[in-house]
């Protein structure tokens, strides 16, 4: 039997499940093969450790049931709280967007009308009548300029 065959046998199934013939073959080979002897020793120790470890087990405490039910209630409450928080957050978003819209409307209502007031002021300064008669231009001319413009033009006409 080659080394690999023994190792495959060792790894293929738990040692405790090997039949008498298989165990005899393993032992016989291990006596003549150093490498396989090490493998068999390690496999036996592994099996022993695992069996001992598997015997360790805990029993639930008398309060375990109460603990689980309390945790369940807590988790449910947290989930409900989370749903409420999400609802509140959505409502908050709606309220803030409404507030923003109201503020924007207020700005348009009370601030934007100041522009027509300026327009009215300007319109008051430059009435249609004054623009047609051009009163403003006359006020800017001195008396001499008026006389010169009147008589100077008559002299030119007489010449």
């Amino acid at each position: 039997m080659r080394d690999e065959h023994i190792k495959k046998l060792l790894d293929g199934a738990p040692l405790s499940s090997l039949g008498r013939a298989e165990l005899a073959a393993v032992r016989a080979h291990a006596e003549v093969c150093e490498d396989c002897r090490r493998a068999v020793a390690a496999a036996q120790l592994s099996a022993l450790m695992l069996k001992t470890r598997a015997q360790e087990s805990f029993e639930p405490s008398p309060f375990f049931q109460t603990r689980v039910l309390a945790a369940l209630r807590e988790r449910r409450a947290a989930e409900e709280g989370w749903t409420l928080a999400r609802l509140w957050k959505s409502a908050g978003l709606l309220v803030s967007s409404l507030a923003a819209t109201t503020a924007a409307l207020a700005v348009f209502t009370f601030v934007a009308p100041s522009e027509p007031a300026v327009a009215q002021e300007v319109a008051g300064t430059y009435s249609a009548e004054s623009v047609i008669l051009d009163d403003g231009a006359d006020e800017q001319m001195t008396y001499d300029q008026v006389m010169t413009s009147l008589y100077g033009s008559e002299d030119e006409a007489a010449r």
């Binding site: 090490r38 496999a43 120790l45 001992t52 470890r53 015997q55 087990s57 039910l69």
Partner: protein, 195 residues
């Protein structure tokens, strides 16, 4: 209705409908088995208890998926195994183990058992604790999948089918995983022995 006498399927139906006491009875009835299964993965009581609690909370939210075809116990064992595997995956794995990582007792235990002296000694709690410590040290260097197949098949002598049912793996996958895990464990112990 006497919940203690009710079958698992009836308790599951009532719990699904929101009956907390029915779920409480499920916890009472199945917690010993859940604890035993979780003990394969964790060695400290508080870790086992934490894992078991997580198992029952998960089971409660997944009650809709229990169709009543297989046994309730089998369904719960699968949830337990998968929950513990996930909890272990999130924990950091120990690096490779060398003989310098062993305590004096652990070194002695290996030497005595190698020489065949242990067979002549009376089994004692102390020696069992040392052996379990050693097993845990070696297992903590291996993957979670290695641990579950080794603990179930070599430790508890579970069949391939039982491991397949508990983990959800195919039977051929279990055989392959078991073979590889045994080889890794054997090699790790050989290294510790320094032979």
């Amino acid at each position: 209705m006497d919940l203690e006498q009710a079958p698992d399927e009836e308790l599951a139906r009532l719990a699904r409908a929101g009956d907390e006491s029915a779920f409480g009875e499920i916890v009472r009835r199945h917690s010993p088995r859940v604890f035993r299964t979780a003990s394969r993965f964790f060695r400290r009581r508080e870790q086992v208890e934490e894992a078991a609690q997580e198992v029952f909370l998960k089971a409660f939210t997944q009650l809709d998926t229990y169709e009543g075809r297989g046994s309730f116990e089998g369904w719960l064992t699968r949830i337990t195994t998968n929950t513990c595997l996930n909890l272990l995956r999130s924990a950091r794995r120990r690096p490779e183990l060398t003989s310098s990582d062993l305590s004096e007792d652990e070194g002695d235990w290996l030497e005595n058992n190698l020489a065949g002296e242990a067979a002549e000694q009376q089994p004692s709690i102390e020696r069992a604790v040392v052996a379990a410590d050693l097993a845990e040290k070696v297992l903590s260097t291996m993957s979670e999948d290695d641990r579950v197949v080794l603990m179930m098949m070599d430790g508890e002598e579970a069949s391939v089918k039982e491991v397949a049912e508990a983990t959800g793996w195919s039977e051929s996958n279990v055989k392959v995983k078991a073979m590889r895990a045994r080889r890794r464990m054997r090699e790790a112990v050989e290294k510790l022995l320094g032979i």
